[in-house]
Each structure stands twice: as structure tokens, then as C-alpha cells.
Symmetry: C2
Subunit: 149 residues, 2 copies
């Protein structure tokens, strides 16, 4: 994250947003960039959230995942209360630099979801091909008792 | 995806959106739901896109990933031109059913990104902790020549 965020991206000759080595994150009109979080050990997707510029900067500076809570309208250090912080091992961005992918280790009880499940994605969609009207959900891993936040 | 999408979600007694077995995808105000795509073999995040109701229904019905192209304003079967279709192995949703996670096998040349890279996330962010102003990008896997779409 550089000062270039507030000015037109500075790309070298022949460079595009897809090829540049400059990190020029593209926040949406709402000032947010989507962030995918996966587990460094299992590889599973743990959660999906949004970052504003401050959350991204704090994540880069501390190696602990920070987000922007759209529901609460405030900066949010994941696990601040529960202790289930997300320790960042690697951060990537995508071709057009409008998505962030964090690979993390979960601290504390190893719980990333507010329901107490390790991952927010604890239900798979079951369906017979061609029969989307009959789609339903099946638990992959049952939510646990304790609550994260 | 059921008729309940157009009416208030039908939850059983004591059920919440987090515990129900009913698939009640929550599309945003723009009619879209974010979709994370990971590789069934490597586990890496391949791409991130959006689905409208029709794209989700077609994905469920055909087991081939469909999205809504925000830039082109139309339904988009990934790989329709390039042959790099995304064959869906599993679909999950998250706790509050406003995100979709697809686990896929890439057909054709095994390329998911329009740059020709296998994954859109071919660059990691390199940074010294506490020095976010100096963040830059490093290629994880160099983009290939061929183009997907």
C-alpha cells in the first residue's frame, strides 16, 4: 500500500495492472476490497470479509488480519475478543488487484466463524444435477459450541 | 435455490440462517453473490467472481461454473470460448449464506485467469512487518502465454 493509492496508479512503460510489481490495491466505490481467508494447514476457505485501506494497512503492518465490519461500521481485528486471531503467513492479490487472499494460521481455539465452527463454510450444497429447485444444505463439519468474534 | 428467494426465508422453529438446512442464498442489493473458486487438486484459490441468480442456478444445474460479468453486464460461462471450463466438484455456502465457495477441476488447458496464469492469484505481496508503505509484488507463478476467457 503506497501513496499512489490516492493518485492514478504509476505503471512503468509497458506495464499493466496485471503485470506490475507495484502493489496498487483497487478499492471499490464503497472503499472496500474483498478478502478471502484460507487455512495454511488444511487449505480450506475459512471466511470471507472486506477490508478498507486502514484494515489492509494494519494487516500488512502486524501480520494479524484486520477487516472492516460492514454491519458494525468499524475496523475489526478478527479474534480481538475471542483470541482466535488470524496470523498471516502469506498475502496475495489477483490479476487486477481488486481482491486479497490471506493464508493464515488461526490462533486461540482455532475457530474462525462466529458460530463456533472452524470455517464459516461448514455446509455443502447437495443437489441432483438439473434439479436446482431441490437444493439443500448438509453439514460438512458441525458448528462447535464456543463462539468466536 | 428455491422459490423462497423471492419471499422471506422460510426457517423452521428454532432455526437461523446459520443452522438451517434450507439453501437460502442472500444476494446483495446489486442482485449478486460473491463466489470463491478453489482448485480441487492443489487447494489454491483460482479466482473470485460474482453470480446472479441465473448464474447460480445454471452452475447448480450443469455442474459447470457460471458467473455474472459485471464489466460486460451479462451471464458468463467461464471457459465458453477458451475451453477452460470449471467443472464443479463441491459447492458450499457460508454461515450467513451470502458467499459461495466452488471447488473445481479446470478443464482444457488448466488455466483459470484471463492472463493465461493457472490462478488469478499469481502475485504475493512482499513486505517487511511494520513497513506497509514499501509493499510490492512478487510473482508466485509466472503468467503463461495463452489466454483464457
Amino acid at each position: 500500500m503506497t501513496d499512489e493509492n490516492n493518485t492514478p496508479p504509476v505503471l512503468g512503460a509497458g506495464e499493466t495492472i496485471e503485470t506490475t510489481r507495484a502493489f496498487l490495491p483497487r478499492f471499490g466505490a464503497d472503499g472496500l476490497i474483498p478478502a478471502i481467508v484460507t487455512d495454511a494447514t488444511s487449505g480450506e476457505v475459512l471466511m470471507f470479509a472486506h477490508m478498507n485501506e486502514e484494515a489492509l494497512r494494519k494487516t500488512l503492518d502486524t501480520s494479524v488480519a484486520h477487516f472492516w465490519s460492514r454491519s458494525r461500521g468499524k475496523l475489526w481485528m478478527k479474534g480481538e475478543e475471542s483470541g482466535n486471531r488470524l496470523r498471516v503467513r502469506e498475502i496475495r492479490t489477483d490479476c487486477d488487484q481488486d481482491v486479497i487472499w490471506l493464508t493464515v494460521d488461526i490462533e486461540g481455539e482455532g475457530v474462525a466463524c462466529h458460530t463456533g465452527a472452524r470455517s464459516c463454510f461448514y455446509r455443502r450444497i447437495t443437489i441432483a444435477p438439473g434439479a436446482s429447485a431441490s437444493a439443500s444444505l448438509e453439514n460438512v463439519a458441525p458448528p462447535q459450541r464456543s463462539r468466536s468474534g
